[in-house]
Amino acid sequence: MAEIDDHTFQEDDHRAAYVSNPLSDGTAAVPSAGAAPRPAKRRRVSAKKEVVNGRSEDQTSGPVDVGFLPLFNGQESPGAVKLRGELFETAWPVLEGRIQNVLREANRNTLDEVSTFLRAAEGEKGKIPAGFIITGPNIASQDLLFEQLAETLCKGSQTRFVRLRSAEAPNLKAALKKIIRDATVRVAGDDEEGDDVEVSVGQDGRKYLDYDLEALHVSLKLQQSGRVIVAFQDSEAFDNGLLTDLIALFHSWHDRIQFSLLFGIATSVELFQARLLKSIARHLFGAQFDVVQAGSVLDSVFKSAVAGSHALLRLGPSLLRSLVERQQDQVAGIQVFISSLKYAYMCHLYANPLSVLLADDAHINRELLQPEHIEAVRSLESFKTHVEASVEARQLSHAQSLLDDDDYLAEQILEQNQKRRDYLVQLLRSLHLIAATGLISTPFTDLYVTALSEGIDLTSEKASVLDPLRRLGPNEIVSLIHHLLNAIEIGSPELDLQGWGPDADELVASLAEIRDEVEALVERAKDSRKTLKSKYSAQSRVLRTTVVAQKVQLSRDTATLTDEDREFTEAIDRLADLFSRSVNCEPVTSRFLHEAWVYDSKSPYRDVFVPRPGTTLSRALSRPNDYLGCACCSKANGTVTATMPTTAVLYHLYLEAGALINVADLWSAYYALVSDESDIGMDERTALVHFYRGLGELRAMGFVKQSKKKADHIAKLKWI
């Protein structure tokens, strides 16, 4: 089939630099890239038919074999390739569904508020109800919200919902057309884009102009439906005049058509109000609604998709940190985070042959592991550390077998699956317990990233949980233990962590014991009319002031501890000890074979999501030989030589020039470099052709432009 041929990638497609060589008469400025025939133009041949057929084919053969190539230089077995493909195909949709759920859940509150408001505002006479929804500057995430709004508000009631985007409504007529069409088409039923005639002809045969709201009025009357909700998705981008006109028009029709407005506002209501005329603002009866802030949405998406036990792949700490920082510093919405996540999954499962080890035990067995897999494992950093550690620990035979015996190693590898799961459960349980104490204010994302990179060790200096814990009073200790027991019992639905009461009998028993003890102590202290305190609490040291002979004396006094207090201190010590013993975890990099299930590489992510075209261009132009790899320019270390491509030569000259460049001067400088006396000896006409071409390319890349200030000059555009 010819189409299959079209889908395979050409050799040239993924090279770092593509060398174009239009001047075939070889002036040696550009090395010949080989006389490869021009690749066939990729055309979409009968795309529609393919889709129709593709459905059934996908089910049988699976979409797996589309993109996944055998690795190990093609030595990878088809079974392993297929498994990797299947892993991706099963893991990602599950995760994506969960993320969508989280996002939808996050908007629920806003939706309820908006619909309550609109329902309540129906009785408002002479004013248009207007909901101002503060969505934040991320336009991509507004779509979901407005989709949900449309679903919620249209449900059951006879309501028409029209979404307006600024791009679709450049002027009043276009906006009205869109409103009328959207509000009437949905009534007409499923025939998409029902023909305009039907819309615009009323019952008495009168034809309406397509921007005449009378048509809408008639159609609504026929349908006996009440209200029309118009949502301005990006209200900032609408023209002031257009908004004013529309609101005035809606107000004038308000006695016949019940309009309600919704505005998606990215900045603030005050700024929005400042744009409206006061006479127009008077027509609105508004309420302000906040969408859940991006930070908390990120937190819940993170919990369910990155940290949660459903996530197949673990993202490494450094990648995660850069992802989270990007969310805070840049205009990158949650959508970018999700696609970054997907990209990480793709990268890992597509390019890492060891990712087959992520499959569950039913799918992976000894046969699947080829000699290449074994060898790849032996070259891992974590393998080395593991072997070194076992040598240190005097398990020489174990180390020996790991190095020599393939079968032994394969067994070890297969065992790692369970170990990985145990590790993750321990990690999540520890994090959940720490969060349950409520003693630290670090957001969960930071906590998780730190735990991955440095592990959790409460006894170390850096951990800041135990100190506040020791300083707690008796009642707080009791409630803390209560929280902990609760956390163990219930687990965390956000993290997909089930309660682990049965697994932690000992911990639960000891916690309950300490709680009972503290409660008993409180009772005893109450009987003796004293407040219970420990030696850690701040009151243990008292500053005393005594006035003796008109002099103030300060003295530090160590408050004496009663027996109860001492017992309480002991209980706290035991609790801290218990807590630090049960909450611990080692850094992920210390795990054997973590390379198979942790993806922590920033570079393809940065290249894809944060490209830097300007820097790349200027670097390529200033050092072209790094990309071309030609011998002739290799000695030019950042300086200009005649053998460079013309554009690069001109770029060097351009960098030396001022704001306005005289083209004649540029030409003479260029010609002096490449003329007959130089190494390449170009004649004037060829040089002129090259010069013009190079200048044209510079202009196309946005470095220069025609200047109006001076004849025969070009203006420099890029300075940094």
Binding site: I134, D204, L209, S252, A266, D290, Q330, V331, A332
Partner: protein, 503 residues
């Protein structure tokens, strides 16, 4: 019934109307005389006056009365159509609305064809009115409401409409306008009826017709008396300066009433002690902010008036059904102003916006002084407005307006990027920590600029006709955020923007 030559419409009609629209008696009578078929019907009639003086409402009510009133004598002798220009997007739309409304009023059954120009309008109307046999006394009244505000109106529109009645004798055209220029219809002798704004006494009379619900510990009569005196006081305090029209006076009254009567509710003053109440509520009468029609009526707590026009006790009625949502909203607003621009925009976008503000409000020649670190380790900065004006008043020969008070100037994108690059290291602590690795042309920066542009905080100057790529470094831009916003934004990052502005 004899066909008297001149007969005014039924007195009953006029008195009921006069009761419905107080203080407009003379206008109603004049209008009735000039419209009624058996009185003195005229061809064209201009009603003018500022907004909210009852022009449209009285015309509509009167015409409805006249139409039904005539039914019992000798068949319908008056029909009317009212076309509001606000609802007509183009002049064609206006013409088709006129034809449509007229056909509906006359129960004309033939489907009208399209009507694009004034001449077609004349043809259509003639078909309906002139070439159909009607009784002799039949009049058709066509009311063009707000015709001076018609969009895309051709210059001949008004004169042409005025001429329609020359072609069609039984037609009366009524123009409702705000303030007509002299001879704007280009035809002689058009009667005008002026609807002047209300005087103080009239305002009080009108407001007194609609007293609020009786206060808890007073009688209805006491409340009504208090309301009338209160309305007069509000008029004296605010009407001349801030709210001249009836709706805005009503709005002011309804906004002030709950505050004014708070002492009565609290039991400290009796409703008769008007002057004491007035003294207690004196502050509010000074405060014109209360008259600002805020678009957010609910989320804001006490100081913002709930602005719902006619209802005198908005706080009670307007928000009552919304109680479940209101407390949460106010709580949220009180707890954390998350909707602040500073907390919404991420760091890079904020920095870019500040850089754009500096680029817009500083002259290019000062850039070297402000942003160069070449000669000094520290930058030489000069104080902004506060220093310059305070000291320089005596010295300066010619007074200059502070640059930031003038509008924002356009700047070249490259200049903003340069300022951004210069300023970033100093303002963004995190950027310095990371070693300043990121270039200014990374995709994230471009995305931030695009976002700011879509929020209209940055505006491309020259727009579409300037053409070209929005990321073109030579493109001209202008900042569209005000001083207050930018200062708040700067402070959110620990930057005092004033220090970076040179007059």
């Amino acid at each position: 019934m004899t066909n008297a030559l001149f007969q005014l419409p039924d007195e009953l009609v006029l008195t009921t109307l006069a009761q419905a629209f107080p203080c407009r008696d003379s206008q109603i009578r004049a209008l009735a005389t000039l419209l009624h078929p058996s009185a003195a019907p005229c061809r064209n009639l201009v009603l003018y006056g500022t907004e909210a003086t009852g022009k449209s409402a009285i015309t509509t009510a009167l015409l409805e009365k006249l139409e039904t009133d005539d039914v019992d004598n000798e068949g319908p002798s008056l029909k009317f159509a009212i076309v509001s220009s606000v609802e007509c997007i183009t002049s064609r739309h206006l013409f088709e609305s006129i034809v449509g409304k007229a056909a509906a009023a006359l129960s004309w059954d033939r489907a009208p064809s399209k009507c694009e120009t004034v001449s077609q309008l004349a043809v259509e109307l003639s078909k309906m009115l002139k070439y159909t046999s009607r009784s002799e006394s039949f009049r058709f009244v066509l009311v063009s409401d707000g015709i001076d505000r018609q969009r895309e109106a051709p210059p001949t529109l008004l004169p042409a409409l005025a001429r329609l009645s020359e072609i069609i004798p039984c037609l009366t055209t009524v123009f409702i306008v705000t303030s007509p220029p002299a001879n704007f219809l280009r035809t002689s002798f058009v009667p005008h009826i002026h609807f002047p704004n209300y005087t103080k006494a009239e305002f009080v009379t009108i407001l007194a017709t609609d007293p609020p619900v009786a206060l808890p510990n007073t009688t209805a009569q006491e409340t009504a008396d208090l309301w009338a005196r209160f309305a007069a006081a509000v008029h004296d305090a605010l009407a001349r300066a801030a709210s001249r029209t009836l709706p805005s006076v009503k709005h002011a009254c309804s906004a002030l009433w709950p505050r004014f009567t708070a002492p009565i509710l609290a039991g400290t003053h009796a409703p008769r002690e008007f002057s004491k109440l007035l003294v207690a509520a004196r502050v509010y009468f000074h405060d014109e902010r209360l008259l600002d029609p805020g678009i957010v009526a609910l989320a804001v707590p006490a100081p913002q008036p709930t602005s719902n026009g006619t209802n005198p006790t908005p706080a009670a009625n307007g928000t009552a059904p919304l109680l479940p949502t209101t407390p949460t909203q106010t709580l949220k607003a009180a707890a954390a102003p998350t909707t602040d621009l500073a907390s919404l925009l991420p760091t890079t976008a904020r920095l870019l916006l500040l850089a754009a503000y500096l680029a817009s409000h500083n002259a290019t020649r000062h850039d070297l002084v402000l942003f160069s670190t070449h000669h000094h380790g520290r930058r030489r900065r000069r104080g902004g407005l506060s220093v310059g004006v305070g000291r320089g008043r005596g010295r300066s020969k010619h007074r200059k307006i502070a640059r930031k008070l003038l509008g924002a100037h356009a700047f070249v994108l490259e200049r903003m990027m340069a300022i951004f690059a210069a300023v970033r290291g100093e303002w963004d602590a995190k950027f310095l920590e990371s070693g300043g690795g990121e270039a200014t042309d990374a995709a994230d920066v471009g995305m931030a600029i695009a976002t700011l542009a879509s929020l209209r905080l940055l505006v491309r100057v020259g727009g579409a006709q300037a053409g070209g790529d929005p990321m073109d470094r030579g493109g001209k831009w202008r900042v569209n955020a005000g001083w207050e916003v930018v200062r708040g934004l700067g402070r959110s990052m620990g930057v005092e923007v004033e220090d970076w502005l040179i007059e």
